[in-house]
């Protein structure tokens, strides 16, 4: 009995150590936050388009097919790394991608797209982060998957990369079902 009491803190200590070690080695980002918008309708908003002299009205534009919403900016380095994968998604997978040009210089954004190609079906401008805050964005790039009913189903914080591309495509397919 006495021995049990003596030894139990040591066992507990090693159990805690094990838990910490597990958290250390699993692939996770502790600063990543879950989105509050999952399973909610896309926010209602109006925004100017970057390339056309038109107004984009949400949620009307989200109601026919699975759509990606990608927040990007030319000052964001990971966005540039992500760009070829967005291109791939729009060219190969025929996905509708709406780009939101977050706190950026419009001229620079246009040049950027001319140089790298344009994967977006429409690009909205968000000069003062109004849209970003409505979507709960806290770090660029962020990509949302919206289903054909205009419901947000998934958010990826950080870029689409070689590593997570296949998993991301799978997610899109899942949402499209």
């Amino acid at each position: 009995m006495k021995k049990g009491i003596l030894i139990s803190p040591i066992i507990l200590f090693f159990l805690i150590l094990l838990v910490f070690f597990y958290l250390l080695i699993i692939d996770r980002n502790p600063s990543e936050l879950p989105s509050m918008l999952i399973n909610k309708k896309v926010p209602a908003f109006e925004a100017k388009l970057l390339l056309e002299n038109k107004i984009f009205i949400s949620p009307g534009e989200f109601e026919n097919e699975t759509t990606l919403v990608n927040f990007f900016a030319t000052w964001c380095k990971p966005c540039r790394d992500e760009h070829p994968y967005l291109k791939k998604l729009s060219d190969e997978k025929r996905l509708k991608i709406i780009g939101i040009n977050y706190k950026d210089d419009s001229k620079r954004a246009v040049k950027w797209l001319e140089k790298l190609g344009n994967p977006y079906s429409s690009i909205l401008v968000d000069p003062n982060a109004r849209l970003g805050i409505d979507w709960g964005v806290y770090g660029l790039p962020e990509t949302f998957i919206v289903n054909s009913n205009g419901m947000i189903k998934y958010r990826l914080v950080g870029p689409i990369t070689k590593k997570n591309y296949d998993a991301f495509v799978l997610k899109v397919k899942e949402v499209g079902k």
Binding site: S31, L33, M36, L37, A129, I133, G139
Partner: protein, 138 residues
């Protein structure tokens, strides 16, 4: 000479303290009405900056923090109450954006666990005490 050095030293130390207490709110953000401004400051101190997650948006100089500070002030100018502003933020960013987590079912453990541990601790000490008393008598 020594006095001058001492003065410089004191000055440097003082400037450090001031630097630590300095806030990131920029002058162009201030509201004209001091009452509304103090309300905005108060809210800002309770709102987490999601970029540098252990700072409030009042202390943080991250662009998102500045956007949120401006948004809070605009909402105050529009006549929104403090609660409406907090609700607006948590609807978009979750309870995590509040530095003081609310008392809810999913945060129950967070609030209650310290007291549970305290009680367990008291029980353990009590039992241990009893036992050693018995040993003493023997």
């Amino acid at each position: 000479m020594q006095r001058i050095l001492l003065a410089i030293l004191v000055y440097l130390m003082a400037s450090q303290i001031i630097a630590i207490n300095c806030y990131s709110v920029e002058p162009d953000e201030f509201l004209q009405n001091p009452k509304k401004e103090s309300r905005a400051r108060n809210i800002s101190k309770n709102v987490r900056c999601l970029v540098c997650q252990n700072q409030s948006i009042d202390e943080s100089s991250a662009p998102l923090a500045k956007d949120l500070r401006i948004l809070i002030r605009r909402k105050i100018e529009n006549g929104n109450s403090d609660e409406e502003i907090y609700n607006f933020l948590t609807e978009r960013y979750g309870d995590f954006i509040l530095l003081n987590p609310p008392f809810k079912i999913n945060t129950l453990l967070l609030w209650i666990l310290p007291f549970v541990f305290l009680i367990i601790g008291i029980i353990v000490i009590f039992l241990h005490n009893n036992k050693s008393k018995k040993l003493d008598y023997n």
